[in-house]
Symmetry: C2
Subunit: 480 residues, 2 copies
């Protein structure tokens, strides 16, 4: 019997796929799976067509297609036969060994879990307050940008949509006294990508030494580790990074001078100057993460560290995650001219560029003054929330707010008598989501001393009841 | 004279900034710039207030603020003085030396320039045809997703918006016969990020050896170089990557089996099997870049290489840049289970995640069948364009289209007599933007033999006149 008859070829006239496609798939599977052996002569197209009740043309197309894929061989004069594909002998699958493949770094890290299930009172870190965000306005900007993309196109620039770069330069010069021209601004998908691109451009794996604040922001640390950096931790006190404790041979220093993460202290003026002086004397660069300093809580915030830098040693990283919302995934870095093109190259290698439509929508939002209005409104909102927390703690000697100049989260310095790990667990059981500074790096053998309250998700009117529960948890622990 | 009078402090009642902010900025600048020296005693607040014509309260607030920033020292009983900031002695700025800082890689690379100024007839590579894209439908999906984000929030998953992961798994199983479950799908910002994350997870700088097609896709190469890979080039012939030419010790092999970039050949079935066999025998992994194979040009396209892989050695990279549009910046990788979490970790370190709003909009677009309809319509459109080019070349023995099973660009194999570099220049002068394969890697001493025509930007009705000009340029060169 012709081996083709053993295949039980079937075509379904009611099927969604054309008959040709049905036939071709069955034949190619039979060849790949070894059911049609190499050298097998296929029936002439006319014969197979008659057998299946399809047109001869259909069969001829399938044969041609399979020949073009290298599955069949058309031999002039002798018909069409199955090619020798050198199919592997049946054997156990040879799965790769994950242990051999993964770089060491990825064995050691754990995933930052998605936000916990919502608790009634949520002081989660890192999220912005969206209750006042002008979504309607933003939607109009987005729709308009998409229409412009559709009808006229949007100007492409790998470093960012040109009008947005100019608007960012002007926005940060006004809100943060950062001095730059638009050519120094590189749009990226959030501060995290800023760290990662700087790492890609500057970090030599296994060589470059990066100093980080301790406690400090773990995701920046990961970006530098992923680029192959050696990381050293430098303690933070009430004036910010302890500059005198920087080790020798440091290449890059990462700081959050406006609102240290997580302790919230603002770096003192003398420390700022010392850091810049050291950068010059010891030839290192500074990465300034200015993640939420647009929100002023009292007086004038300390200007950005970049403002004081006359040498071009500060690489400034900003984000729209706090002053807009995190899901926007847009941020920027402001760097000296010599670093712009390398960062653009690193960006191309990483993921090409940020969506022009989103960039154009943001440009429109800024141009119309909506960002400035929103930042002003949110500054007021965060001030009110901050005040509410402070009032609730007025009678509590166990948790003392760290003085705050700017930012979206507070740190409460805890009395030695308090066990913050237990307190956080108890508070969560009472429906209040708070954090402590433990996971953000500590000297060995010490216990976390900062309780952390993000002011984003929680509603203003929920703060009093939330703090009442937190105070109750504190009282319980003190009594026990 | 009290040194403060030398400062020429001024407040402007008509100014936009509050008087307090104006005064504070002037004082802090004077301190930072050394015009107010350490130890200088400031006038009592009442006196300065009278001098400037502001309220005493304003001056007191400014003093307090500057004290909190570490610029002033309030000495009980003796007034307020300027702190010793240990200002650096005036000196030349100490700019960093770019040469010392930049990693070698970024010295050698050049920027991929933004698309050239538009020519009347544009066969640019890499861009999708947007003329038939259902922008209105897409806009509705986007607006709906944004509203959902605003009112209910969207489910966060670092690996991607969960409904989108499931829809992608089902879409690729139908359109590309890729077999996977949603848990193996990682949403990323385009194929480029897919390469870069795989590199970040698997490439040991200076050790890992990556084999790439030559000629091949330069941006994938850059992603692997940026991760520190050693890259080796393996030639491509009419059956795709020459598997027998893979060198020893190779760890990763990057291929474009459905539609080789840039030569457009589909990898033959026997080569596919040989590659999978070698991967098992020599323990390497395969990165399959399946960038535009949704568009079928004739017959059934060859299934993805991943379809044949029983070992979990193929890492499949897909993108929505071609079947939607590039500015969407969404793509995906499909990998064996053991690699999912490391890639998510690498993604967190790189830029956290893709916007949920965009992911939810895309999920809606797919769920409503709009993507499938668009892919079908575009397949027809690209087939028509392909045919139009072939017809125009029917009488031309100098440029022969490479047979094409799928994809958005064509390669024309040029006769030895043609100088493609000169031809491309001449064609552009005639208003026709075409490319040749030269920039994509060649054996030393050889000349490019492929003329490349992207079928995205050009309108169907423009192809005949464009090809007439191209043919004229060919005729000129042959005659000369």
């Amino acid at each position: 019997m012709d081996p083709i008859f053993g295949l039980q070829l079937r075509v379904d006239r009611q099927g969604q796929e054309p008959l040709r496609v049905q036939l071709q798939r069955q034949l190619s599977h039979a060849i790949f799976e070894g059911r049609l052996k190499a050298g097998t002569l296929l029936p002439p197209s006319r014969q197979l067509a008659a057998l299946l009740g399809v047109s001869r043309n259909t069969v001829m197309q399938v044969y041609e297609q399979l020949a073009s894929e290298g599955l069949l061989l058309s031999k002039p004069g002798s018909g069409t036969e199955v090619r020798d594909l050198a199919l592997p002998a049946s054997q156990e699958p040879g799965r790769p060994d994950a242990g051999r493949w993964l770089k060491g770094l990825w064995h050691d890290l754990t995933l930052f879990a998605p936000p916990e299930r919502a608790l009634p009172y949520d002081f989660a870190l890192g999220a912005a307050d969206l209750s006042l965000f002008p979504f309607d306005h933003w939607r109009r900007c987005q729709v308009r940008a998409l229409r412009q993309f559709e009808t006229q196109g949007l100007d492409m620039d790998w470093a960012g949509y040109p009008p947005l770069r100019a608007l960012i330069a002007s926005f940060v010069s006004q809100s943060r006294a950062v001095s730059c021209n638009p050519g120094q601004v590189l749009v990226c998908s959030g501060a995290q990508q800023g760290f990662s691109l700087i790492g890609s451009a500057l970090i030599e794996p296994g060589k470059t030494l990066v100093a980080m604040e301790s406690p400090g922001y773990p995701m920046a640390r990961r970006a530098f580790l992923a680029a192959g950096a050696r990381v050293v931790e430098v303690p933070v006190d009430a004036e910010g990074l302890m500059v005198d404790a920087l080790p020798g041979g440091v290449d890059l220093v990462y700081v959050t001078p406006s609102h240290q993460f997580p302790t919230t202290v603002a770096m003192s003026a003398s420390r700022r100057l010392a850091l810049l002086q050291q950068a010059r004397a010891r030839d290192f660069l500074i990465i300034e993460d200015d993640y939420d300093a647009e929100f002023q809580l009292g007086g004038q915030p300390i200007d950005a560290l970049q403002t004081l830098d006359k040498d071009g040693r500060v690489l400034y990283v900003g984000t729209f995650s706090k002053c807009m919302f995190g899901d926007l995934r847009l941020g920027f870095v402001i760097v000296p001219d010599w670093l712009v093109q390398p960062l653009v190259l690193a960006r191309q290698a990483a993921d090409l560029h940020s969506p022009l439509v989103a960039q154009a929508a943001l440009a429109e939002f800024i141009r119309q003054g909506a960002l400035r209005r929103h930042v002003r409104a949110m500054g007021k909102q965060y001030r009110a929330k901050h005040q509410e927390v402070c009032q609730a703690l007025a009678g509590c000697p166990w948790l003392v707010p760290v003085p705050l100049l700017a930012g979206v989260h507070m740190a409460l310095l805890a009395d030695e008598a308090l066990d913050l790990e237990a307190l956080v667990i108890r508070a969560r059981a009472l429906g209040v989501n708070v954090s402590h500074s433990g996971p953000f790096g500590l000297a060995a053998g010490t216990r976390p001393r900062h309780l952390l309250l993000g002011l984003g998700p929680i509603a203003l009117e929920d703060i009093a009841p939330a703090m009442a529960r937190l105070n109750a948890a504190v009282a319980e622990q003190i009594k026990a």
